[in-house]
């Protein structure tokens, strides 16, 4: 601002009607280049572009104002160019140059410094962008929890080492190798990278590498923002712990390392296990073991006891008792059924006996006796009838005979004369001789006569 004022005051306008282009251009060139031999300009980069010939062009702007700027390829500050980008606020060092032919005024930049974040931040951002895959948390190696050997890369005389050793002293059964390096200044990053490579190559039994240093200025920490650090840590087979710089700000080394600790003290606490803590843990484990085993055994004891009770409950006595009862029932039933069977048979026999009794032949005998009596009577009466019939018949025959008796004529007065004693019937007198006896039959009675005389 001060320099601007000076420029205006020294440029006195000469009274002239007109100027030629050349006059005014030369005048401007003179005015600008004379008044601003070298200067620092603060502004924001815009319209950044790279030309074929390697020159870099951009505008420096501030609100409405803009200044064309360029870096010649021969001049350009190689370390910064990669970090340039639109919108970046920078402080540029250089001189103003007016070009007659084009009438342009360019600020020829010799050096650029970022404003705000600073160069380290820029570098960090750029390196992060470049090696993005390497910062993937998944790539990070796990640290052995109980290392036997670790290596520390640090300055032998720094406070960091003192702090680290103080914490780790007899904290664990551990071998600590110190790899002394410079931790600041030109080329320190090369020593550190070399150390990482050496340890990887020659001390393979080292389990953790710790890179540490105390806090310092940006300049001091510059080695930890280098590509060398990234590449060596990336290639390390041994996990790397970084405890570099500020507690708040992470260096590139912090980011690429497998673990970052804010301070050397914290690193020691993190990397070196605490035997007291492990003792405590083991003590707890012991107690837990005891408790858990007790639970297991008690559970089994309880379980077994319950099984025992159940088994005793299910002893075969119950079955035996039931079976005995069943057998008693069987006995009872058997006797009962046999009794029933016998009773049935007895009642059946009684019934049959009664039936037989009813069939007693007595009845039949009586019946037959009756029948016989009847037959007897019939026989008697039959014979009687027979005889009576015969008698009656005989009687009638007799009567008939009587009625037909030749002697019936005697009733009428006839008589029958028979010779006597021979009884011949005398039908004619001739048959009679004198003196002969004759019997004369009358109807009633007869007489014996002697023939006196025969008349023929």
């Amino acid at each position: 601002m001060n320099r601007h004022e000076t420029l205006i005051s020294t440029t006195d306008f000469k009274e002239k009607l007109y100027f030629t282009v050349k006059e005014i251009a030369l005048n401007l060139k003179n005015l600008i280049e004379k008044n601003f031999p070298v200067l620092w300009v603060e502004g924001e980069i815009a319209n950044l572009r790279y030309s074929q010939n390697g020159n870099v062009y951009f505008n420096l702007i501030e609100e409405e104002a803009s200044l064309k700027a360029m870096i010649f390829s021969s001049d350009k500050d190689q370390s910064i160019v990669p970090y340039l980008k639109n919108g970046l606020k920078v402080l540029c060092f250089g001189r103003l140059n007016f070009y007659l032919r084009s009438g342009d005024c360019y600020f020829i930049v010799r050096r650029i410094e970022p404003l705000g974040k600073g160069l380290l931040a820029l570098k960090k951002e750029e390196l992060i962008r470049k090696y993005k895959p390497l910062f993937d948390p998944n790539r990070k190696k796990a640290l052995p929890l109980y290392p036997k050997k670790i290596a520390i890369i640090t300055s032998l005389f720094g406070a960091a080492l003192k702090d680290f050793l103080k914490i780790s002293h007899n904290r664990w059964d551990l071998e600590i190798l110190v790899y002394p390096v410079r931790v600041q200044g030109e080329g320190a990053e090369k020593e550190i990278s070399q150390a990482v490579e050496d340890i990887n190559l020659y001390f393979k039994d080292v389990e953790i590498i710790v890179i540490t240093r105390g806090g310092g200025s940006f300049e001091d920490l510059a080695p930890f923002y280098t590509e060398e650090i990234i590449l060596s840590i990336k290639d390390s087979k041994i996990p790397v712990v970084s405890a570099v710089g500020h507690e708040i700000d992470y260096t590139i080394c912090d980011l690429i390392a497998d673990k970052r600790c804010p301070t050397p003290t914290a690193a020691a606490e993190d990397v070196v296990p605490d035997k007291e803590e492990v003792f405590k843990r083991l003590e707890i484990y012991k107690k837990k073991y005891q408790q858990l085993l007790e639970i297991i055994i008690s559970k089994r004891e309880k379980q077994l006891y319950e099984l025992k009770l159940t088994l005793e409950n299910r002893n075969p006595f119950k079955i035996i008792n039931n079976l005995e009862k069943q057998l008693k029932d069987y006995t009872h039933n058997l006797i009962l059924r046999m009794e029933k069977f016998l009773s049935f048979k007895e009642s059946r026999l009684t019934e049959i006996k009664n039936r037989l009794r009813k069939k007693h032949p007595q009845e039949k005998i009586s019946l037959e006796e009756e029948r016989l009596k009847f037959l007897k009577n019939r026989l008697k009466s039959a014979l009687n009838n027979f005889l009576e019939t015969k008698e009656r018949k005989l009687e009638s025959l007799q009567k008939l005979l009587d009625s037909l008796s030749p002697l019936n004529i005697l009733q009428r007065g006839y008589s029958i004369v028979k010779s006597y004693p021979d009884g011949r019937i005398i039908k004619i007198a001739q048959d009679v001789s004198e003196g002969q006896f004759l019997e004369i039959y009358f109807s009633k009675g007869k007489v014996l006569v002697e023939v006196k005389k025969v008349e023929t």
Binding site: L387, K390, L394, L397, Q398, L401, L404, L407, R424, I425
Partner: protein, 85 residues
């Protein structure tokens, strides 16, 4: 005409009597014959009467016998019956 009447059984006797009665009904019958027939008839009738009387007596005897009967006797009787027949 009159055969051995002893051999004549009751029925034959009766038949003979009936025959005699038929003869006697003949008016032309010779008196002597008639008287002979008549007498024969009378005798046959008597004979039959006697037979009947005997029969009745025998029946009574049989009935009486039965009461004094024993099984042995019965069997004897059976024997007698068999042989007697």
């Amino acid at each position: 005409m009159i055969e051995n009447n002893k051999d004549l059984n009751f029925e034959e006797a009766l038949k003979r009597i009936e025959y005699i009665l038929k003869q006697l009904e003949n008016k032309d019958l010779d008196l002597e014959t008639a008287i002979e027939l008549y007498e024969e008839g009378l005798k046959l009738i008597y004979y039959c009467e006697q037979k009947l009387k005997n029969a009745r007596t025998r029946v009574e005897v049989i009935i009486k016998e039965k009461e004094g009967f024993r099984l042995e006797e019965f069997e004897k009787a059976i024997e007698i019956l068999k042989n007697g027949n």
